[in-house]
Each structure stands twice: as C-alpha cells, then as structure tokens.
Amino acid sequence: MIRYGLRRILALAPVALGVATLTFAIIHLVPGDPVTAMLGETAAPADIVGMRRQLGLDRPLLEQYAAYLGGLAVGDLGESISYRKPVTRLIAERFPATIELAAAGMLVALLLAFPLGLVAGANPGGVGDLGAMGFAIVGISVPHIYLGPLLMILFSLDLRWLPLTGRGGIAHLVLPAVTLGTALAAILARMLRQSLIRVRESDYMRTALGKGLSPRAALVRHGLKNALTSVVTIIGLQMGALLSGTLIIEMIFSWPGIGRLLIGAIGARDYPVVQGCVLTFAMTYVVVNLATDLVYAIIDPRVRVS
C-alpha cells in the first residue's frame, strides 16, 4: 500500500508540471495583448511599455516561463494588479470558503444519494425505484444556473427561511450546497442502484441469504460494501464537475471563494490572479483525484497490484 501510494505521488509531478505549463500557455500564447486589454485601446504608449516592464512581459517568453516556474516552486504567484496584493495571499484568504462549499455539496450529495440508491436498488422496478430514478434523471438535467435561482425564490424570497446570499453560518451554506450537490446526488444514486442490482446476482449474496440473513441485512452488510467501490470511482470522476460547479455557485450566491475571485479577475483583466486561480483549481483537482485513488486502493486491494 505504501509503495503504491508513493508511486502514485511520484507520478503526480509530470502532470503538475504540465498543468502549470498549460496554464502559462493559455495566458501568454493565446492571441490578445493583456496589457492593452487592461489599460484600454486609448492608453498612452509610454504607459503600455511601463506596464509591460512591471509585469515582466517585455522579457523573452522562455525567461518569463522560467521565472514563473521558479515563483511557483516557492509559492509566489505574482502580484494582483487590481488588489495590489500577492496573489498567493488573495487565494489563501478565499480557499477555505471554496473548500467549505465543495465539502458541503459533497455531503448533500451523499446524504441524498444513499437513501435514494438503496431504495431504488433494493426493489428495482418498484414504486420507490421509479420515484428515485425520476428524481435522479431530473437532478442530472437541471443546470446549476437554474436550480440556484429557483431555490432562492422558494426558500429565501417566498418562505424566508434561509438567507439569500453571502457566507455566514450553516444557514448560508444550505442553498448553495444543495444547488451544488443535487446533480452529483442524482449520478451517485443511479450508480449505487446499478451496482446493487449487479451485486444481488453474485454468489456471496446467495450465500448470505442461504445462511439465513434477511434480504435487507444481506444487502446492507454484504451488498452495500461491494457496491461502494464503484460509487467511490464515480465520486472521483465527478470531483471535477463538483469543483468547477463551485465557480458558478459562488457567482449565484455571492459566495466569497476562489470562483468569484476568478470571475471578478477576468472582468478586471487581472491576469496574475486569473492565472493563480486557474492553477489552484486544477492542482486541487489533481490532488483530490490522487486522494480518491488512494482511498480506492484501500477499499479494493486488487487495484494496488495492477
């Protein structure tokens, strides 16, 4: 297990370097001059030259790239143009909010998915199955940008149960987390149902029933555990959707995380911040993926060998 973990962590290095390089390439190689974009078409040539020098854009591209990687190695992402603060600090201030949102979304997804998936998988074709899968197909299809406003109308404006926007206590977290978690809940519920149905036909389930366990006990004790591996895989695959979902949710609910920082920075043409945020999102995703793989290896020892 430890050897497997170390091997996976080592394999991370080239991907991380690639991610850093692609981010740099998007910002620097894609046509369009960031300086002109920041200062406007009518800017004085002297200002443009000054700004280019300040940002280091007058140096050769390779030199910029080397400086960028060097900065990355020591956690320096440059300085924000609009905030006049180090990008690293801006991101560090907002990172917890984004993680809090993503974790809450995941929690909502799991809390919804398990009952739904179990009900559906315990009796395929039954009323519970139809209801749960009906909910699932709708949940997958409703986009965040519609579900968010819908929940806001219902629970904040009409019923006045929950605050509309911003970050505070648990109450502030509920609507954004539900908006974020619904689609994932639907996907997980479908997956859980499918694997439960597959598991029911296996030999060990027949054994469990044969030795006198009730169908429910057999399903929970033996079936669920085995169905879990595929659910963990899906959680890993869906982490990307969850993370990039926070971006949209943060905009809808004015949640002060990295997503809002990123979209704000795009509007303000604050390229160092854009670069830093994109990089943070991608790296978080890579690390989370690694963590999922490791969890998977713990649950299912067969993975470690291959």
Binding site: P14, V15, G18, V19, T21, L22, T23, I26, I27, V30, P31, G32, P34, A37, I137, V138, I140, S141, V142, P143, H144, I145, Y146, P149, L150, M152, I153, L157, M239, G240, A241, L242, L243, S244, G245, L247, I248, M251, I252, L262, I263, I266, G267, V274, V278, F281, A282, Y285, V286
Partner: protein
C-alpha cells in the same frame, strides 16, 4: 427532444415577435396571450428570445461536438495505432487537459480570448475533445487484438485501410453514446459561460445570459428565469435520455 430541435429550427420563423424589439410599455410584463412567456426588463418577448436562444445553443453544441469528435477521434486513433512513445506522449497530454476540472479550461480560454461566438466554440472544444480521444484509443487498442483485425493485418492491409474498414465500425457505438451525452454537457457549459458573461454577449439571446439578466428580477418577474431555465433543463434531459437509450442499445456505457 425532437420538439426542441424542431422548435429551434421553425420556431423563429413561426414566431413573429422580434427577439430584440423593445416595448417599454411591457417591461417585465407577465405571460399574456400576445406574449405567452411574458416580457423581459426591456420589454422584449421572452418566448421569441428562448426560441432564438435554442438556435444558438443547438448550433454551437453541434459545431463543438462535431469538431471535438473528429479531432479527438483522430488523436485517439493515432495514439493507439502508433503505440509506444507517441501513444505515451499523447495520453500524457490528454491527462493534462483532464486535470482542469469541468468547465474551468473553457472559462480560462474564454477569459483570454474574450467573449464572442467563435471564441466560445474554441473554448468549449478545448474542453470536449479529450473524452473522444480516450474512448477511441481504448476501443482501437482492444479491437486490434480481435482475430478478424489480426487476420486483416496478416494479410497485409495498410494501417489506413485497417482503421477505416475494420476498426472504425467498432468504435461508432461508444462514440455515439459519448457524443449524445456530450451534447447535453456542451449545452450546459455554453449556458454557464454565457451566464458568467464569457459566452454570447447581449443583445444576442442565449439561455445563459437570459438567466443572468433574469436574476435581478427574481421576485417581481420569476418568468424571466423560468423560461430559459426549463429550456436548458429539458434539452439536457432529452439528450441524457437519448444517450441512455443508445447506450442500452449499443450495450456500452460511456
């Protein structure tokens, strides 16, 4: 599903209301006979805008899915047939693209390219091609070991003929599944980008920017968000159901 495609094609022809004509007397008017979905903050007919939005959404997703499919398949097939170092290199590249979660890559590209329809297509394609590359590579690698392909190879078939005659037909099923789900994904991503102000810019009607504009009037005019919201939801639902159907028929899950 078919209804949405039809609505996108004939809708704008049938509906005489101009999606950008402004009627100040009808600002935020609720649904009525003349305007079944009501009017928006500038007094424009919401139904007409949703229908024009359908055109934009479907044509953009068609272009993006088509380009992603062709580019991704070519890259995937090249990797699988070349094998060795090239395969390794290409798949590392795919991994790096996949390291950008969800629509993040599209957002980053759209941010630098600026808003606009062509830039939107580029951004969404950059996000979409990897799925096709992976599927085609995987399928080609497994099909290559089949006896009929080995037989053709032994008989001296060229690589291009091998690919076109023997390998491609086997890949069509999984690709169709991926493309159908891809449609739904791209419609959602397009709406999200436009919602963030990184896609279609007003006054071009798009479901995403209509939702964004409607947010300011949630309490007074909820119909502004309902119409485009349902349009997006039903389109994605349609493509998902279609994808499920095709997947069952082909016996393959994407």
């Amino acid at each position: 599903m078919i209804a949405i495609v039809l609505a996108a094609i004939v809708g704008p022809l049938l509906c005489r209301a101009d999606p950008s004509s402004i009627d100040l007397a009808k600002i935020l008017a609720g649904p009525s006979r003349a305007h079944p979905f009501g009017c928006d903050a500038l007094g424009r007919d919401v139904l007409a805008r949703v229908l024009w939005g359908a055109r934009l959404s479907l044509s953009i997703s068609t272009i993006v899915v088509a380009i992603s499919l062709v580019v991704g398949s070519l890259i995937g097939a090249t990797a699988a047939l070349s094998g060795g170092r090239i395969d390794n290199l290409v798949m590392r590249g795919v991994d790096i693209f996949l390291a950008f979660p969800g629509i993040l890559l599209a957002i980053a590209l759209a941010a630098i390219l600026g808003p606009g329809l062509i830039d939107l297509v580029i951004a969404l394609t950059a996000m979409g091609w990897t799925g096709y590359a992976r599927i085609v590579r995987g399928e080609v690698l497994s099909l290559r070991e089949r006896e009929y392909v080995l037989a053709a190879e032994t008989l001296g078939a060229k690589k291009s003929r091998l690919l076109m005659r023997h390998l491609l037909p086997g890949v069509v099923g999984p690709l169709a599944v991926q493309a159908t789900f891809g449609f739904g994904g791209i419609i959602g991503a397009e709406a999200a980008l436009s919602f963030l102000g990184l896609g279609a810019i007003p006054p071009t009607p798009s479901w995403g920017n209509m939702l964004d504009a409607g947010r300011a009037f949630l309490l007074v005019a909820p119909h502004l968000t309902t119409a485009p919201g349902l349009a997006i939801g039903f389109s994605i639902l349609g493509f998902n159901l279609l994808g499920d159907g095709i997947a069952q028929k082909v016996g393959h899950r994407a």
